[in-house]
């Protein structure tokens, strides 16, 4: 995956850390007063530090920082107790601890103030706390940029920021900026398109800010960056709310500009299991690709598929022929010529998950060892890794009634197929083995048909 969301706090931190280069030359200041905490206790401790003494001195705003929007409409922004701007440190502490105690329901779509669709329920674990910035609604501007398509970025500008920006989308000016635009072209395009309804006395500062905002967006490899509302008072800039996605493939270029950036799991998404984390770690260390997502650990159909495209085809076909995904336990792939040892580790992880519990109805389980015709991955080598894992898990596999279906082609496939068949038979594991003469997903059909027969 290339485009990844980051926390509001990190987005603001990136502004602060690169302010000197991009915005300070305009004579603008950014008072970066913002903390990210996981509990009221942590906030209390931070407030004792000299650099965060504003937490005790200023009225505060607190909100969850977990990659979802519409926090105001979901009633998840603390900006008042009785009236706006009266939130004290102790109120924020109390509110945070209250909100994180029980799972919260969050809606992602609204029609006016009315929620639309199903909410997601999850615990709130990260909160951003900042000073309350008093300002009037007509000081709320909007600015955003996105990597629109292959040739253009788009800069969105509006004099009307705030929560109603979507309703006021007709007032947003869109500027298409070619990816290879020069500084002069960027300045020209933006100057010519400054929204007419930005007050005259603010136009110049807004324009200058917008130009630098775009360069900041471009140079730091953002895929999306939105500030709403943006408030400029005198020479002070306030970024009241921020949404951002980064292109994580640029990480190797951005070590200095990004610092230590985190790509968190979004709200409502299950945290990665230890097994998924272990595979992700192995993937990061390897030149090959190892991916594992557990969809339903109680599912009876497990896949061990080589190749990104092939893994999708297998998942599609299982869903299609099994009439849904209830039985599909995992999604994943290994590819790019993994070593025998990497394949053994990957297989052991899948087999371990697969053999933890018997099916409550006593049905058997299906292991699909699939793959297309490899370009350069040595099938005998990777299958040797799978065989080593079989040896370790053979007894457990028999306990839960695993039937194995294999289909694979590519370099050394005859040897690989022969080895896996002989070894499985020696271990007493039921196995069917096919090569490139059999259609790639034919084994899914066989497995599901035999499973149905077995059930009768």
């Amino acid at each position: 995956m290339a485009q990844k969301p980051i926390r509001e706090f990190d987005g603001k931190r990136l502004f602060k850390e690169n302010w000197e280069e991009y915005f300070a030359p305009l004579g603008l200041e950014y008072p970066f007063e913002s903390v990210l905490v996981t509990s009221g206790e942590e906030l209390k401790k931070l407030a004792e530090k000299e650099e965060y003494k504003w937490l005790k001195e200023k009225p505060l705003v607190a909100k969850p920082d977990m990659l979802f929007g519409k926090r105001g409409k979901n009633n998840l922004v603390l900006f008042k107790v009785k009236k706006p701007g009266d939130v004290k440190l102790k109120d924020a502490i109390k509110w945070i601890d209250e909100k994180r105690k029980t799972p919260q329901k969050v809606y992602f779509k609204f029609d006016g103030d009315k929620p639309v669709g199903e909410p997601k329920e999850d615990k709130l674990t990260y909160f951003i706390v900042e000073p309350f910035t008093p300002h009037s609604e007509d000081e709320e501007y909007y600015i955003a940029a996105t990597t629109y398509d292959a040739d253009y970025d788009v800069l969105y500008m509006s004099a009307h920021g705030g929560v109603e920006v979507e309703e006021n989308w007709d007032k947003v000016t869109e500027v298409k900026i070619p990816v290879d635009a020069t500084d002069e072209e960027i300045e020209k395009l933006i100057s010519e398109n400054i929204p007419a309804d930005i007050p005259e006395d603010k136009k110049e500062v807004y324009k200058k800010f917008a130009v630098q905002f775009y360069k900041f967006f471009r140079d730091l490899n953002f895929a999306y960056l939105e500030i709403n509302p943006l408030v400029i008072v005198g020479n002070k800039v306030y970024l009241l709310d921020l949404v951002a996605r980064l292109d994580d493939t640029a990480g190797y270029l951005m070590k200095d500009k990004w610092g230590d950036i985190e790509f968190p799991t979004p709200f409502g998404m299950p945290e990665k299991s230890p097994e998924e984390k272990a595979i992700a770690e192995a993937d990061a260390k390897s030149g090959a690709s190892l991916k594992l997502t557990i969809l339903n650990p109680k599912g009876r159909i497990w896949t061990l598929v080589a190749g990104g495209g092939a893994s999708v085809v297998y998942a599609d076909t299982i869903a299609d022929l099994a009439g849904g995904v209830e039985e599909l336990a995992n999604y994943g792939e290994y590819s790019g010529g993994p070593t025998t040892d990497e394949t053994r580790f990957y297989t052991e992880t899948v087999l371990d998950l697969m053999t933890r519990e018997k099916d409550p109805e006593g049905k058997g389980k299906i292991l699909i060892i699939g793959g297309a015709i490899a370009n350069f991955t040595d099938v005998a080598k990777t299958f040797t890794g799978i065989i080593q894992a079989f040896r370790k898990y053979a007894d457990k596999m028999k306990d839960v009634g695993v039937k194995i279906y294999v289909r694979r082609g590519g370099p050394n496939y005859e040897k690989g197929l022969k080895l896996i068949k002989e070894e499985a038979e020696k271990l007493g594991l039921p196995i069917k083995v096919y090569g490139p003469e059999t259609h790639i997903t034919e084994i899914v059909q066989m497995a599901i048909e035999e499973d149905k027969k077995g059930a009768k």
Partner: protein, 617 residues
């Protein structure tokens, strides 16, 4: 072949950026089986290579492909190579592409790296479009025009290429995103139809240089292509461009299409199915929506992937029936010579080896000394000493501690004997002549022989001979006298019975304390009594003691007399002296280097000149 709309012809030549030997060899193997005249690779660019060329097989023969350090240089020397195969890593692929675009020679640039930053990908793709250069990739295995040109690894092994009929043109134009499924589709098309005329895997990234529509519009014009197969993916809107082209009549040839990723509808956005580009941002980007839209536009869309082969077969057979597709005369495929290494691995060939090694092996994960990995002997915590390493490599055995300690004692004892001995002197003179450490060292070592250091071998040999033949010490002394040989290991310039050599005392003490038995030493001491009775300084010297104790050591370790005789005959004892003394020689050489003394010239007055006029004969 004059087909202006084919991606590659039999004359196409490429420059390969990165010396990826396996991929290049696969291309040349392909060239061989399709009987190309010229290899498809004109040159290799490898910025850090010091070699001027690399050898590759072309059938059973070998060809040399030139290597250049920059694309610019390669282009200058190969003006007809209009394809760049950019196999640089994701860190450098962008710079390589931009550089190549500025050279204005390439028609096609293929980029294999996965994970190029999106902004870089967009910049290079745009520049290429402006220059009219076709980019394939990034994150792809490439493209193939069967019977003409194959990019790197696409198609897999030669066996698979022939099985999938990728060695000669068929009738289908194939486009996919995935490289792994490209092979699979080629195989399906070969089994259910007559193979492909041209195929491109466009790559899995969000921003690729050329997309389905670019290639399918070209294929529409290519008379060899009679129908097309498109394998799309969930995410993006590229398939809709095909639908528009079909509706507007820009594409009239039959299309069979399928988008993978229909499973995505069962899951929320969190699960990434497939490639970076594969993520539906809107309803019309889902695989189901795209499949349905294509079906409505009259494109042949199967019910699911499992049904795809039947649909291909159906379209192919109806085109055959209509006479659009002619039957193909299958070309003869020359047998592919097998790689020696592969044939060995499969147990198909054998060859006598010219060398034998029984002491160490560097072929595995870690080099081993007599079966013991280096890491298991190197650091102090392993319990292995330098003596253990010597016995592993010299004798292929691990000796008990008393023996390895003795060996180390010997090494230490013989390490140096001052600058005046002939070997050290030679080493110093050579070092002063400005020669290197190794040159100076060998001049020193070359003096070691029967007169310098050789007494260890000689002592071991003669004392053992006398002892084995049960000569009394007196008989032995007389025997040597009769032969006219001074007894090796006996005698010292200064030391005598009353002024004993402390080094010899040390060795004797160690042996008496730690050796299980020292019969030969006991015998030698009896001999010493005989000789010192004649002259004070005819004592058992350090060389003699070492040679004799080595024999006692090997006997105690259980070696047979024959084995010990072989050690002596092969110069093993001398080897301890060579090893030990090298330490001292190197010390003298380094000393000379530090001192920076000038070239040595021996003074005339130290040479007795007595040169007579040569006699006329």
């Amino acid at each position: 072949m004059s087909n202006n709309h084919a991606l590659f012809t039999r004359d196409t030549q490429a420059i390969f950026w990165n010396n990826n030997k396996k991929a290049i060899q696969r291309m040349l193997d392909y060239d061989y089986i399709i009987k190309r005249e010229k290899p498809s690779i004109a040159a290799i660019v490898a910025p850090t290579s010091s070699a001027k060329f690399e050898k590759f097989f072309f059938g059973t023969e070998e060809v040399m492909i030139p290597i250049y350090r920059s694309t610019k240089e390669a282009v200058k020397n190969h003006p007809n190579a209009d394809v760049l195969l950019n196999f640089a890593s994701f860190r450098t692929a962008y710079d390589v592409t931009m550089d190549a675009l500025n050279l204005d020679q390439f028609r096609v640039i293929m980029i294999t790296a996965e994970g190029i930053p999106e902004r870089h990908a967009r910049l290079m793709n745009k520049k290429a479009r402006e220059k009219g250069v076709l980019i394939i990739g990034p994150a792809t295995v490439g493209a193939i025009t069967p019977g003409a040109f194959k990019v790197a690894n696409i198609g897999g092994t030669i066996e698979n290429i022939v099985n999938s009929k990728l060695h000669r043109p068929g009738s289908c134009g194939l486009v996919t995103r995935s490289g792994g499924l490209f092979n699979e589709l080629a195989n399906i098309i070969a089994r259910n139809a007559d193979g492909i005329a041209e195929g491109v895997a466009i790559g899995g990234d969000r921003f690729v240089g050329s997309t389905f529509i670019d290639h399918m519009l070209r294929m529409e014009k290519n008379p060899q292509v009679k129908y097309m197969v498109l394998l799309g993916e969930v995410g993006g809107r590229e398939e809709y461009k095909i639908i528009e082209a079909v509706k507007s009549g820009k594409i009239t040839k039959p299309i069979i299409a399928w988008c993978i990723g229909t499973i995505a509808k069962y899951f929320s956005s969190g699960v990434q199915f497939g490639h970076a580009g594969a993520s539906a941002n809107a309803d019309e980007e889902t695989a189901d929506a795209k499949n349905e839209a294509m079906r409505k536009a009259g494109i042949h869309v199967p019910k699911n992937f499992n049904e795809l082969p039947h649909v291909i077969k159906g379209v192919y057979e109806s085109l055959r029936g209509e006479g659009v597709i002619e039957p193909i005369q299958e070309p003869e495929v020359p047998p592919m010579p097998e790689d020696f290494a592969k044939a060995v691995a499969q147990g198909k060939v054998r060859r006598p080896r010219h060398f034998v090694c029984t002491i160490s092996d560097d072929r595995g994960e870690e080099a081993v000394y007599a079966g013991v990995p280096i890491s298991a002997v190197a650091t102090p915590d392993t319990g292995y000493s330098i003596g253990d390493v010597i016995t592993l490599l010299w004798f292929k055995k691990r000796y008990p501690r008393w023996a390895t300690d003795f060996i180390e004692t010997v090494i230490k004892t013989v390490a140096d004997h001052g600058p005046a001995v002939s070997g050290a002197h030679n080493a110093k003179v050579t070092a002063r002549a400005g020669k290197s450490v190794v040159e100076s060292l060998v001049t020193g070592l070359l003096t070691i022989g029967p007169r310098f250091g050789g007494a260890i071998d000689g002592a071991a040999y003669y004392f053992k001979y006398a002892y084995d033949n049960k000569m009394s010490p007196k008989e032995f002394v007389n025997y040597m006298k009769k032969k006219g040989i001074p007894i090796p290991g006996i005698g010292h310039r200064i030391k005598s019975v009353r002024n004993p050599d402390k080094r010899v005392e040390g060795l004797k003490n160690y042996a008496s304390k730690h050796f299980p038995a020292t019969p030969l030493l006991a015998y030698a001491l009896e001999v010493e009594k005989e000789t010192t009775a004649k002259k004070e300084n005819l004592i058992l010297n350090v060389d003699g003691t070492i040679g004799i104790l080595m024999v006692d050591m090997w006997r105690a370790l259980g070696y047979s007399e024959k084995e010990i005789d072989e050690f002596i005959a092969s110069g093993t004892l001398n080897a301890f002296f060579i090893l030990g003394r090298s330490i001292g020689f190197i010390g003298h050489i380094l000393d000379e280097k530090r001192l920076g003394m000038p070239m040595y010239r021996h003074p005339w007055d130290d040479i007795l000149y007595k040169v007579d006029k040569a006699e006329e004969l």
